[in-house]
């Protein structure tokens, strides 16, 4: 108690120096916390985007993830309705899951005959209502990413969505009234030369195939139509027609120029034709990310019990950029934290060192009165620790104020992995581990910084200290 009392009073003995030291610690704490809160927001935001798109887990036939994407039809899951039922009706998984839905990956060529343009595409078939429900997942209260409502109906197999690049390249911007989608400039050598564009003037049999799928009752004549050509599981070419009812801007240009999303039934028609309709995977979206490992274990148990040769991939594997983005920001955070710790370390060491010099006579008096060496050491360590506690506490308060101000400022930005601008937010509330870790860290850094001066004070020769003026 005496040590604490003397330490507290000594901190304010040289007010200017103590305030400078406290300000350094407080600003350091605030910087660490604000940046940590920003990273937390990024992490939650990127995770939300990933989980909304791919779910937490996806179940494939074993080997699909590494080898199957080149020929998704070959790796289709037979009798997938049974698998869906198994997952959906399991009592444990029922409590954990928000959405369990099938998907079918596919790739082929998309063409606009009227414009004599075509291009490769890749995409997915999904159950529209399930996709829309997945887009509502928002565990951390970040804004939803991308198109939250596809506008597609489960029973309407004619319509789909594309990346904005697909409709731009196929010359459909005008019909969709898209902004920032200028017409293609004229090239010196005609790119629409039928001899160089195999799909622009389709072979008679493909044109006939395409014509068969054209909607007869064209109630949505304003919606642009594209034809999708793909090889069926049997190897034969197949064509379906898709009405583009909506455009979803994708985060990467390559994806934006190639993505086509459609009703699962249409994708199955294209890939499997009249054969058995399969799916390439089952998407499992959980209510809470923290249940991921529990759900994975349960799925493995179910598959083992039924002898199913399946593999399970989580959203970090399905979205490799997730770990890259988080890893990069964590590295920056660690680097900034290390620099701030060093600044705090040297500032406190300097302040305590000056304090020891100024109080040399006092140290001699205390030692003469019977204070042991460890008592002197404890005194200065307490002062360093108190500086850390006060500075870190002040820093925490400042960080909360800054977070509140920024969260209510209306600032926007484009986070990584997201199209368009979002409100800029700092997630301090809900990141208590960050606050506690920073606070404890700065306390220890400050106490550690006082160690060298405290030791020097403790080792002073009493008579030399008493002689000091």
């Amino acid at each position: 108690m005496l040590t604490l009392k003397i330490a507290f009073r000594n901190i304010f003995r040289n007010t200017r120096r103590s305030l400078t030291t406290l300000a350094t610690i407080a600003i350091g704490a605030m910087a660490v916390l604000v940046f940590g809160a920003y990273i937390t927001y990024i992490q939650y935001g990127v995770q939300t985007g990933a989980v909304q798109g791919t779910g937490h887990l996806q179940v494939f036939r074993n080997g699909y993830f590494n080898y199957g994407t080149a020929a998704p039809s070959d790796w289709g899951i037979d009798h997938y309705q049974d698998l869906l039922r198994l997952i959906r009706e399991d009592p444990e998984l029922k409590q954990l899951t928000a959405v369990v839905t099938p998907i079918q990956s596919l790739a082929g060529i998309a063409g606009n005959f009227e414009n004599n343009t075509s291009k490769p595409f890749f995409g997915a078939g999904f159950v529209p209502s399930s996709r829309d429900r997945m887009k509502q997942w928002n565990e951390y209260g970040t804004d939803s990413r991308g198109l939250t409502h596809s506008g597609l109906q489960d029973n309407d197999l004619t319509r789909g969505i594309t990346g904005s690049g697909v409709v731009r390249i196929l010359g459909l911007c005008g019909q969709l009234h898209l902004q920032e989608c200028p017409p293609a400039p004229k090239l010196a050598s005609s790119s629409s030369d039928p001899s160089t564009n195999a799909f622009a003037t389709p072979a008679p049999d493909l044109a006939e195939l395409s014509g068969r799928d054209k909607p007869v009752n064209d109630a949505h004549s304003d919606e642009p139509v594209i034809d999708l050509l793909a090889a069926t599981a049997g190897g034969a070419p197949n064509v379906v027609t898709l009405r583009v009812s909506n455009v979803e801007l994708q985060t990467l240009k390559e994806l934006d120029d190639n993505y086509v999303g459609m009703n699962l039934g249409l994708a199955q028609n294209l890939i499997y034709g009249r054969g058995e309709h399969k799916v390439s995977g089952i998407v499992v979206q959980l209510k809470r990310t923290e249940d991921l490992e529990r759900a994975r274990k349960r799925l493995l148990v179910l598959f083992k019990e039924r002898g199913l040769d399946m593999e399970i991939r989580d959203f970090t594997e399905l979205n490799p950029q997730y770990n890259q983005i988080i890893g990069m920001f964590r590295s920056i955070f660690a680097f900034i934290s290390a620099i701030i710790s060093m600044v705090v370390l040297f500032t406190v060491t300097n302040a305590m060192g000056m304090s020891v010099v100024e109080r040399t006579g006092e140290i001699g008096t205390s030692r003469a009165m019977g204070v042991r060496r460890q008592g002197i050491r404890r005194q200065f360590l307490t002062e360093g620790g108190l500086l850390g506690i006060m500075g870190a506490t002040l820093g925490v308060v400042l960080a909360y104020l800054v977070a509140y101000a920024i969260n209510h400022s209306g600032l926007t930005w484009s986070p990584p992995g997201q199209v368009g601008r979002s409100p800029l937010r700092l997630y301090l509330i809900g990141a208590e581990w960050l606050v506690v870790t920073t606070w404890i860290g700065l306390f220890f850094v400050s106490a550690f910084a006082a160690f060298v001066p405290a030791n020097r004070a403790a080792r002073m020769v009493v008579v030399d200290a008493l002689r000091h003026v």
Partner: protein, 247 residues
């Protein structure tokens, strides 16, 4: 070297003998490569419950001698026995505890803890000894009254005059009931009138508390206050006057 506890020290103490016995004590300081002798083979005894004075000009070795007696410095040669205890064999912790319990210090520059009030400065040595709060409060308050500073109880040292600071220092030295009090030129930083009042106070307190005072000064006019006077010159004892006698 075996460390001794305070209990062991107390057991070994002789209640009848002198409070301090110095035998052929030498203290040499090293300034770079040069050895500077401060005390050159001094031997004497300081009797209990007396007001003893060590007199000598500046640089004669008075402060060094007081530091050795007060166990805040160690002799280069010779032995020092304080209260029957050979202090040279104590380790740093044991000697710190010894000082905390048995030695009171009064310094020329007062050496109060600046962040503590007058009352807290007096309370400080009692806290070091772990005395219960209630007992400390009573002892400190009584001592503050004894030196006439009740009204200045909550003032910090920078709000006190030189004389008041030295009164606080006297109270602080005496409050724990030490075996002896060492005062190193306590009047040097005071005007003559205040200095005289401080010497009077120390003398009165010494009689009232029946303790031993060892007082160093370079002012020969203060010799009349002493029961015992030891005159030091060039690190050697040149004279010892006991009250009414001259050796």
């Amino acid at each position: 070297m075996k460390a001794q506890t305070l209990a062991e020290i107390a057991e070994s103490e002789s209640a009848d003998g002198p409070i301090v016995r110095l035998s052929n004590v030498v203290k040499t300081y090293r300034a770079g490569s040069v050895e500077v002798p401060a005390v050159k083979g001094i031997s004497f005894e300081i009797p209990r419950q007396r007001f003893s004075m060590i007199v000598g000009p500046s640089g004669s070795g008075k402060t060094t001698l007081l530091n050795l007696i007060g166990c805040i410095d160690r002799p280069t040669q010779g032995s020092i026995v304080v209260g029957g205890q050979q202090v040279g064999i104590l380790d740093d912790n044991a000697i710190s505890d010894f000082r905390a319990k048995r030695v009171g210090f009064i310094f020329q520059n007062f050496s109060l803890i600046p962040v503590l009030s007058a009352w807290e400065n007096i309370d400080y040595p009692l806290m070091l000894l772990g005395i219960p709060a209630e007992q400390r409060r009573e002892l400190s308050t009584r001592m503050l009254e004894a030196v006439g500073l009740s009204a200045q109880r909550d003032r910090r040292p920078n709000e006190l005059s030189g004389g008041q600071k030295q009164r606080v220092a006297i109270a602080r030295a005496l409050v724990k009931g030490p075996d002896f009090v060492l005062a190193d030129e306590p009047t040097a930083n005071l005007d003559s009138k205040t200095g005289a009042s401080i010497v009077d106070l120390m003398r009165r307190m010494q009689e009232e508390y029946s303790t031993t005072f060892v007082f160093s000064t370079h002012d020969p006019h203060l010799m009349s206050h002493a029961d015992e006077t030891f005159t030091i010159r060039d690190g050697q004892l040149v004279d010892h006057i006991a009250r009414g006698s001259h050796c």
